[in-house]
Symmetry: C2
Subunit: 405 residues, 2 copies
């Protein structure tokens, strides 16, 4: 069994890097705070006897040697980048749980047959750079390294430049084989809490399509310009925000539609907005339904543009289909949770995770634990130490079963 207090202390120590007054964490991908977090992980992993490898997109792999190092490693991990107003657990839990597995094996003097690796994937959150889940996406070949390195943030800094600046641009080369991949994560939604279960056995993750939408109207004076002559880009964008919500509401219970980011130009009180840029995030459990939502979004844009006499451009920037996890690993999670006496239930992940991409190239599964009020992507994100300990015990057992002793 793992040491719950040690796991909690690692989480709290890591949370100090980028900690916010409201108790959250702002440690955005490939910033200097991200570097500090990475450096701390690398130090801890070395102290636990691991060797470190960095790949060309900045993913970190900490390896604990196995009895037979020619075997593909059994891997776990997640990410330590956060949302601008993120919490202490999203991603960080999966990485610290992996480290805790290594420390537990060290303390017990257990030698596994296959090596164990703990991965820290680059830019999972996608708030600074799209595509989201960038490091695992490159690892799994979902898009190319060159595509990822060329992406730029809102200030025009590229991923390649940001990686070089923090000293985490590692070696290029083909991704090595993975024997099995497990990722522990907080649920980030209310289902486990509502059902009073400790372990979520994750069956699959929703598919996602993300878009950049630009509404091009005409700037004019808010006073003398008659209402009926306006091409108000914000008025059109507002209609689109309502439509994105409607597209998901029409496809309950599992579809989601969100406009998370919206920028107005020139954003002056007495100027009719001339241009609005906004993001759209659509999710569904079924790929055909997700495509249908794509069509509904495009139709809504075309209708609003025609009604209001302005132009709306739609560019898809992220797409991945719903991803089922590997049945025998999912079963291993369920069986070990039951064996340990934890209440559990099957769940579907509404969020994307690095495991979604890794599942394209290796057997993969996930372990969810509850978070307070189902709240995540918020500084008040919280989790029960006992639940985090339980999830880490399930992770340990499932990894040992895959790696062999």
């Amino acid at each position: 069994r793992i040491d719950g207090a040690r796991l909690w202390k690692s989480l709290m120590d890591l949370a100090r890097i980028g900690g916010t007054p409201k108790g959250g964490v702002c440690r955005i991908a490939l910033t200097d705070l991200d570097r500090q977090g990475r450096d701390l992980f690398v130090q801890w992993a070395r102290e636990a006897g691991c060797s470190i490898r960095i790949d060309a997109i900045g993913n970190i792999f900490a390896r604990r040697a196995g009895a037979d190092d020619s075997l593909a490693p059994v891997m776990t991990g997640s990410h330590i980048d956060t949302q601008p107003t993120g919490g202490k657990f999203d991603g960080n839990y999966g990485v610290m749980a992996g480290l805790e597995v290594v420390r537990t094996l060290n303390a017990a003097g257990v030698r596994t047959r296959a090596p164990i690796e703990v991965a820290v994937w680059t830019n999972e959150e996608g708030s600074r750079f799209v595509p989201v889940m960038m490091g695992s996406g490159v690892f799994a070949g979902a898009f190319t390294l060159e595509h990822a390195l060329a992406q730029r943030d809102a200030q025009g800094v590229s991923v390649a430049e940001a990686l070089a600046a923090i000293g985490y641009a590692g070696q290029a080369g083909a991704a090595p084989a993975v024997g099995a991949y497990f990722e522990a994560h907080i649920e980030q939604g209310p289902v486990l809490e509502n059902h009073e279960r400790v372990i979520g056995v994750v069956q699959a993750a929703l598919g996602q399509r993300w878009y950049d939408v630009t509404v091009q109207g005409m700037e004019a004076h808010a006073g003398p310009t008659p209402m009926e002559l306006r091409q108000d880009a914000l008025l059109a964008a507002s209609a689109l925000v309502a439509e994105v919500n409607r597209i998901a509401l029409d496809r309950l219970p599992h579809a989601r539609g969100t406009v998370g980011s919206l920028e107005v130009h020139p954003n002056s009180r007495n100027v009719i907005p001339g241009r609005v840029k906004l993001s759209v995030d659509l999710r569904a459990p079924d790929d055909a339904q997700l495509l249908d939502m794509d069509a509904a979004l495009r139709a809504a844009c075309a209708r609003i543009a025609a009604e209001r006499g302005l132009a709306i451009g739609v560019e898809q920037v992220v797409y991945f289909p719903p991803q089922p996890f590997t049945p025998h690993l999912v079963e291993a999670v369920r069986a070990n949770a039951a064996d340990l006496g934890y209440s559990c239930m099957d769940v579907v992940s509404g969020a994307g995770h690095d495991a979604v991409y890794v599942a394209r190239v290796a057997p993969a599964a996930m372990v969810f634990v509850p978070c307070a009020d189902g709240i995540s992507h918020n500084e008040i994100e919280d989790a029960d130490p006992a639940h985090l300990e339980a999830g880490c015990n399930v992770l340990l057992r499932a990894m040992l079963a895959s790696a062999g002793v």
Copy 2:
């Protein structure tokens, strides 16, 4: 008659300070570019024999002595601050037209009985600091000097600090009496052009109410958070944008409603927005109607907040009632336009102008000229040199009639 080519050259020379690639001007109030524009005006006014006075809110008064300097001056002027994406004519025309009147009187060797003054009012646009029309508002006692100096921009810089930084914090003291005030301005709307008239005889300006609105929802993850459990601040704000438009559409032809500025927090693609701040700008020709729009706005905020289970705060930051101009000066504008053979018509100003506040403490009137396609608060703002010349000739005649020769 004034020299149209000289007037045009002054406008083009001034437009170089803060000129944008699209042919507009970005010379925001109390920035270093504003200082450069002010310095150029002061230099030109001194070269034209004027004395310069700066008051405590940074208004500049350039005075051409009269035969009887004990008489209250006949004043003209406007502003040279611009919108972030502003044009070459809004405000600048009124100041350069005043300078052209002085230069014309100099060239003709005319001595007026009352002195002539050209005013450059501080922060008319209101895009960096509210209240809008700040310099003329302090001059006319619409609000106090202390209130104005304490206002801060989005970066937290106060008006007092910004004035000191550009060296235009002048002498405090009671505003001197003004014999008559005339302001020449582009119309900033389509009415004169649609009616093919050269001079607009401005009867009054719409009243205005501006607000800061804050929608407080709850940040959460865009994936696992069920649609029905969300408190999406942007979804609520979008409903309010539509309502602001509706409030004006229900009160045509003269009411206006605009959301020009909107900021989303944390503005991340996969985070349900937790907070949105937006501006609301309501205008009407009748004070009772404007109050009715205020009530409609507050009711819409309360209804949306209740429907969506979140909080909406409304703070009024600008209010002035509809302002009629002084009948005998309005008549002077009309009579001189007719005398000069220019086509003219009565208009109402949809924009606020410094004349609106000056009209509270002195007889005041305005002269409008058309602008291309009625577009203003846009870098493509344009005007016909012949129209600008015509407006300046009307200004010259009206000022001479008031000042006496």
